[in-house]
Symmetry: C2
Subunit: 578 residues, 2 copies
């Protein structure tokens, strides 16, 4: 990326490189000062002097930061990194007291973190929805159409009956003794609940489990992975998590020591990754997916970005691959996956494989292959490559987002490193048991001959086929719009169309202090009630504009979305055409 | 604390002060070096030179750390903070590649974090349990008696029927249309489920909610807080969380910027606090509870430790109070709470109130008062004091640990600071919906006249009264042992007896490279199958020894625990008596 491109991107609502650098310099200065303080303290301790007052030292050594501090009102969302009460501009509770908590005194890593999927657009949508409820007819549309987040059940998708029956019975084991239960629940859900209850400490969904999750459920998940891949899986490698996000955070927390550590992430990316890297103080190393080849992942691009980061002194520790892609919807070809594995092996990178959309494949010529399967089929074993695969109950055909279930399969780390994973998992005790049970059910659904099998298959295929139709309809609609091109959603739950915005629109956005795609999305929302997420939230090649649109609204709503979007787009282009 | 006392504590299985210091010095050196690199980089950028190779600079400036690196095998669980591949001793994937992930190259904050509640003792217990299952009769006891963790349902406590009925119906709304449901479920659980379903997006427990939790459930919780305290509560102040732990982590993440930021924590403490502070890179500022006055919380001690920390250049940002206490079981008196509030107000500290045991009060003369109620009764409003109250569904009479539900009530922060709380909550999307529902049920259980009311009251009181009896029996048993003194459990779920260990036992522990209380606890476990947690995991006055024992095993097991413990203790004392 050119310097001008980078500056342009940062100016649009992000931090400038110079500010970043100045912040880091200021932090380092603090740190160096701290070394001096520590040294004085240790000298004092060793000479059995009591604690020395270091105030003078502290005040004189920080003068260089003060200009920055007084100017900071011009720099939104950035901490001055100054943490002594003596340097705060705020009113104190009493003399010598800690300064009140202000935005300036929060952890700068938190301030730096951004998470667009639940940003300004969502706030506007919530406000509009309240308006519609309190004053029907107050808006030019009768309902908000949420296409912003992968949350199928919020939009009317029904849960898989078998899964929910098992959950209800595990939560209420006394039902298992009652006659009426056999007319309300299927025989295999009863049998499965009995089996799961036997695996749980105290037969209780209300008990904390082993920190990695209930052993019996991990056995089931490992068997499911083995059946999927044709290669063995070890229940000791499974860590059950509250959705995929806590697993991603855990890996970032383990791998990132400072901003000298980098993580290679696709651009566009699901912003969990950039947020988590920012929160843990690391450096996001971008690699760009190639929109022209259907969001292709080119090894040459990986190499280029890796080398550039290394030249800057960054230790790149891991490569994130999202397959099927979010927000980009591509499904990687097996040969491409082999190249990625080879690249990680050669370069010593941990491969972080986000495989939460593994069930969501719509292109008939595409197939999901787990990276674990690819590695093992290349004869790479436990000692050859560190690999973490993330799976979630929130996606797939089941879409159980509210249950917060998921797992990560962790292979290729030494025993002592694994112990640190376990310790981190232990600090949070365990993931929720209903989510754990669901994760096991997703990896072991009803089989041919089970009473629930036919209903399960109908429910599953009904959802997946409908999603494929919705994806196609929306893709065609986008491609029919002036200046819009949209790659196929081969998998996952999203389309990520590119919009060629007229210069006049970009200028209007600048005047409104918005990124151009955010300006478009806010106008779309206010005119039509259709909620999409601007491309800036996911990252994109500077100067290009996109938005993410889910394929999740119920099928009968799709025509309304298409017509509202098309009418809006025509008017927008007419208003701003150069 | 005297220097000799501190050294003695650290030598017992912890890090020495010198090692800590050396680690920090080494980190600071790295950081300072980094400043130099950055400066070079910026100069290079500004002169439009391409990126310079800094290898030479990097290699020469780190020689001072190498001795430490080569010695590290003697220092368990400590990172060398060396993050360049050139400095690693491990084999590389290929020339120029990132070094493999080793214990030395993990985030040193993770390595520093300790969490004793799930430490060595638990591993031994799990091993023994497997032995008992595979070879019955192989141990001198027939079952493991878990007294180590607050996990009541794992030990046979039954969930509250009403709560579970509501959960099952919310998860399976189709049941609400069926005739059989009315003979299986109570009328008020059906009514409550219908009400909750109406509050949820898509009427679905499988949908992500608002990042703070479902608004209708937060309304219910706020009403419950208001009924408890007699002062208003605002649903916008409620953040629903997966148990209390993520809320604590979130506050630490927000408040801690560097090791210059400190958090005042009780000693003994629940190790979530020390672990979370370590993970976020802050400094634990200890204040000691006074065992002689029933684990009294003295303001003079708070002042002393706060001043000492400030003299060292630490900005103390918050005070943690656990009430009722964990592991100490004391219930704070109202007057004491007022003093604590006054102290926080005067010193500008955020008050982090761990109130997860608010329903667990056993002393007839004691009453739980929330800190929010205390603040408001002192006429301190929103602008006077920043206060966070943590609540969990895992504790109380319900003990729904596996559901991972809870909330924090956040008051006294500015709007822009609150927006950062919201952003952090958003990155993890939302807490699990069953946990959210449970949190609302806990704060709004059945009322007089509801069909479930009598059963609910019987279940609740039965559990609480039994816990009080178990606490008394165990307390008396401990106090009858030679050299053991045990304060009353006025509340919570634990006893924390002090053991006067003979010098010979302490010496034997040293030889076994264990803390003396860990040595005692491991011997106890291996001889009797009774699992307790050594006091070192919670912190204690140096030179004193304790263990934490829960009061949670079912009442019929208590006599066995008492007799096994007493017999073991007599033999232990006979073996080691000075």
């Amino acid at each position: 990326m050119s310097k001008s491109g980078r500056v342009s991107e940062f100016l649009k609502g992000k931090l400038t490189f110079e500010v970043c650098w100045w912040q880091r310099f200021s932090e380092s200065l603090q740190m160096w000062k701290f070394v001096g303080e520590r040294a004085k303290r240790v000298i004092a301790t060793n000479t059995i002097a009591s604690v020395v007052n270091l105030n003078h030292f502290q005040t004189t050594s920080t003068l260089s930061s003060s200009n920055y501090c007084s100017n900071r009102s011009h720099i939104p969302r950035l901490s001055s990194s100054l943490n002594s009460p003596r340097r705060s501009c705020s009113v104190m509770a009493s003399k010598g007291a800690t300064a009140p908590v202000t935005i300036e005194s929060l952890n700068p890593k938190v301030l730096k973190c951004e998470y667009a999927v639940r940003g300004e657009i969502v706030s506007i949508a919530q406000k509009l929805q309240q308006d519609l409820q309190s004053k029907p007819g107050s808006q030019p549309f009768d309902e908000i159409l949420f296409c912003n987040i992968g949350n199928p059940q919020a939009l009317g998708q029904k849960p898989i009956t078998f899964f929910r029956e098992v959950l209800a019975l595990c939560d209420n084991p006394t039902l298992l003794d009652k006659r009426e239960t056999h007319s309300l629940f299927s025989a295999d859900s009863i049998a499965r609940a009995l089996k799961i209850l036997d695996q749980m400490p105290g037969r209780a969904t209300g008990a904390y489990s082993h920190s990695q999750g209930i052993k019996g459920l991990r056995d089931t998940i490992a068997a499911g992975i083995q059946a999927r891949d044709g290669f063995p899986a070890d229940p000791e490698d499974i860590f059950l998590t509250d959705g995929a996000s806590p697993g991603v955070h855990m890996m970032m927390q383990l791998l990132i020591r400072s901003e000298n550590d980098g993580i290679l992430c696709p651009i566009p990316q699901y912003p969990l990754y950039s947020a988590s890297i920012a929160l843990h103080g690391g450096t996001l190393v971008r690699y760009y997916l190639d929109e022209a080849t259907g969001w292709g992942l080119e090894i040459s691009e990986l190499k280029k970005q890796l080398e550039a980061a290394r030249q800057k002194g960054i230790t790149v520790r891991a490569l994130v691959v999202i397959n099927p892609g979010n927000p980009t919807g591509q499904v990687l070809a097996e040969e491409n996956q082999r190249q990625i594995v080879e690249f990680c092996k050669k370069e010593g990178l941990v491969l972080l494989a986000d495989e939460v959309y593994q069930e969501n494949i719509y292109a008939p010529d595409k197939k999901f292959n787990s990276f674990k399967k690819i590695c093992r089929s290349m004869k790479y074993g436990e000692k050859d490559i560190p690999l973490v695969s993330f799976q979630s109950v929130s996606k797939g055909y089941h879409g159980e987002c509210g249950k917060r279930g998921g797992y990560m399969e962790v292979t290729g780390f030494s025993r002592e490193v694994r112990e640190q994973f376990y310790k981190l998992a232990s600090v949070n005790l365990c993931s929720n048991i209903s989510g754990q049970i669901l994760a096991s059910l997703v990896m072991s659904p009803p089989k041919v001959g089970d009473q629930s099998y036919d209903a399960y298959i109908n429910e599953r295929n009904g959802i997946l086929k409908s999603l494929a139709r919705r994806a196609k309809t929306l893709e065609d609609a986008f491609n029919s719009l002036e200046g819009v091109t949209c790659n196929k959603a081969e998998g996952a739950m999203y389309l990520f169309p590119r919009i060629q915005l007229p210069k006049k629109a970009i200028k209007a956005a600048e005047q409104a202090k918005k990124a151009a795609d955010a300006y478009y999305a806010i106008r779309l929302l206010n005119s039509t009630g259709v909620v999409v997420v601007p491309g800036t939230g996911f990252g994109q090649v500077p100067g290009t504009w996109h938005f993410r649109c889910t394929i999740l609204p119920q099928e009968e709503k799709i025509p309304a979305i298409v017509s509202r979007l098309s009418n809006f787009h025509k008017k927008f282009m007419a208003e701003f055409r150069d």
